[in-house]
Subunit: 351 residues, 2 copies
């Protein structure tokens, strides 16, 4: 089913990739939210860099495509600009890195080079200021549909980056924010529920979760021990872009572990009474809804008491624990246990 | 006419970009073939990095799009894979950098995830080995047309990167290789001249110029004083991706200078007698033909004698000189001078 994983596997074997390559300038290659570069190699000196007390670059890229990730009839250009950069930067938050720069590869139809582009750039600038990340390069091309490719870079104390692969059995599992809010926001927009300005105001926070995800950069840096400077707190992390069931599986697979989560502990989205007719199930939204761009992370049990219940006003929830695995177990409120299968976003799934 | 420049100007002013920003970790931002990062900043120490004798990262990105840069009916997947990476890496050659890593953002229709993808990856691997550049990350998405976004990174001795902005009046202007060969190769393919294997063999080198550009990485590193280690030789450089008339204008504009080139000195492509009926003009191909991915560079007059006539078997030709400008002057074989206007590739030109 998960054809995307097959494609990535094909790419990996064709290009002879090794997730922990022995090249001196690369700490981490394919298979995480981002790659990690060691300080630039010095020619002519020793093959391996001296261990530096410095910082390392973290790099990631993200595509935001019309017709796949957004639709021109429901997503305004300003929101598209904001979200394109926010979702790319989310990978840096998941690594515990501080954002620094991005490259923008912008594909536009000729008809969007006027007012649409102006408003797109306005949203992009808003995100760039909010996330403190600067444009340093890019490229433009012309095609009938908008495609936005963004490469982001940030830096982290050497050896402190949060990877997907560090979770160990016994670690506790946490999530930042509410799960499923972005999916609910998208549902409202798609069903044209949010058309009149008065309604939009009422559902502002639900729409914002979908249109303008609040990336947990400071919290990620706190987890990596970057801000304030200190020891690394999280053992592993990933951002929830494809839905909890899918992203947690990615984390477990990278770490070679399993997980147990409690349905009763999940920070569910509250569905307003007026929307009951939509028959949305908050638990399903939380388990499989995509694009929350929250942090899902693990912490060794011994230091888990350091995790606050809120950070900068956003809830941090203990939702489960890491097991030997394999697989992810969902403990329902009744106490019944069932296997949780990934049903989140996969662009290549056969439907 | 040059609408692409307008779009880039819009982006630049919206994002508040400064080509020479004062941020300590960035040496060069928007407006060149690539951005240059200084070694990672050290938190809590001085704001500015100590000048390091080390190396700097050079980053660039490139889009290679079906229907714009290649066509499925004339470009096989293996060549598409090779060229996608070669053209992206050409930006590193133009900076005099050594390639290290790339990120791949691959958009595919479901129908291309089988044999097409396998052959594409074969070509990508060939380029990756030839150019000594490793895949370290990426992303995949699904759309009806193939789109390949590649972000490349390399390193260069600190302060040695070749930029577009260093040309000074009096510098001599050189180009590596033959101009217009890639455009001629494309013409042969488009006109179905190169359909039978026997014909293909005869015109192999012409086709290769279009399908598998030979990137001058070693020569670029020689010009930057990286390999062998020495002083920087070129004062400015750019790769010829959009055609000489357009790329030379980019270089002149960045440097605030003009240029004079001699038509009689241009390394023209030789058109085989069998192709005379196509009425291709070698001079027009050389001036405006795109995708050669050769190096166009300037050298201070005093050290220009160091430039060899050939480097690794490829001709290096003195084609002109840098003037105070403004504008580019073409000296025809008759001695007549005329203004050369950019007629190279611009995706947004109104036609």
């Amino acid at each position: 089913l998960a054809v995307e994983a097959e494609i990535i596997q094909k790419i990996r074997s064709a290009l002879g990739c090794n997730p922990q390559p022995s090249t001196p300038w690369l700490r981490l290659g394919l298979g995480d939210d981002a790659a990690i570069l060691r300080p630039c190699p010095q020619e002519g000196t020793s093959k391996r860099n001296k261990p530096s007390g410095g910082r390392e670059w973290v790099l990631s890229c993200d595509a935001f495509l019309e017709g796949v990730h957004f639709r021109p009839d429901v997503h305004g250009p300003r929101d598209v600009g904001y979200k394109a950069l926010a979702r790319a930067t989310s990978d840096l938050a998941a690594m515990g890195a501080r954002p620094r720069f991005f490259l923008l590869n912008l594909v536009l139809p000729g008809s969007r080079t006027g007012a649409w582009l102006d408003r797109f750039l306005l949203g992009l600038r808003e995100a760039s200021r909010k996330l403190e990340i600067s444009l340093v390069g890019g490229d433009t091309s012309r095609l009938p549909h908008v495609a936005i490719n963004i490469m982001v870079g940030g830096d982290v104390p050497a050896g402190h980056a949060l990877t997907r692969s560090g979770a160990r059995p016994g670690d506790l599992l946490f999530v930042r924010g509410t799960l499923g809010a972005a999916q609910l926001g998208l549902g409202l927009i798609q069903r044209r529920f949010a058309r009149s300005p008065r309604q939009e105001k009422r559902w502002n926070s639900l729409l914002a979760a979908h249109l303008r995800p609040a990336i947990g950069l400071d919290f990620g840096r706190w987890l990596s021990g970057d801000k304030p400077s200190g020891p690394k707190i999280a053992s592993a992390a990933i951002d929830t872009s494809d839905g909890l069931s899918t992203d947690l599986e990615h984390l477990c697979e990278s770490s070679g572990v399993g997980a147990r989560i409690w349905a009763g502990r999940l920070p569910l989205v509250r569905i307003p009474p007026e929307l009951k007719t939509l028959r949305l199930d908050p638990l399903q939204l939380a388990l499989h809804g995509g694009e929350d761009y929250q942090l899902l992370f693990t912490v060794p049990r011994g230091i888990a008491s350091q995790i606050p219940r809120k950070y900068q006003g956003v809830s941090i929830t203990h939702i489960g624990e890491i097991t030997r695995g394999p697989g992810i177990e969902l403990v329902q409120e009744s106490g019944r246990r069932k296997k949780l299968t990934p049903q989140g976003w996969d662009p290549f799934r056969k439907t």
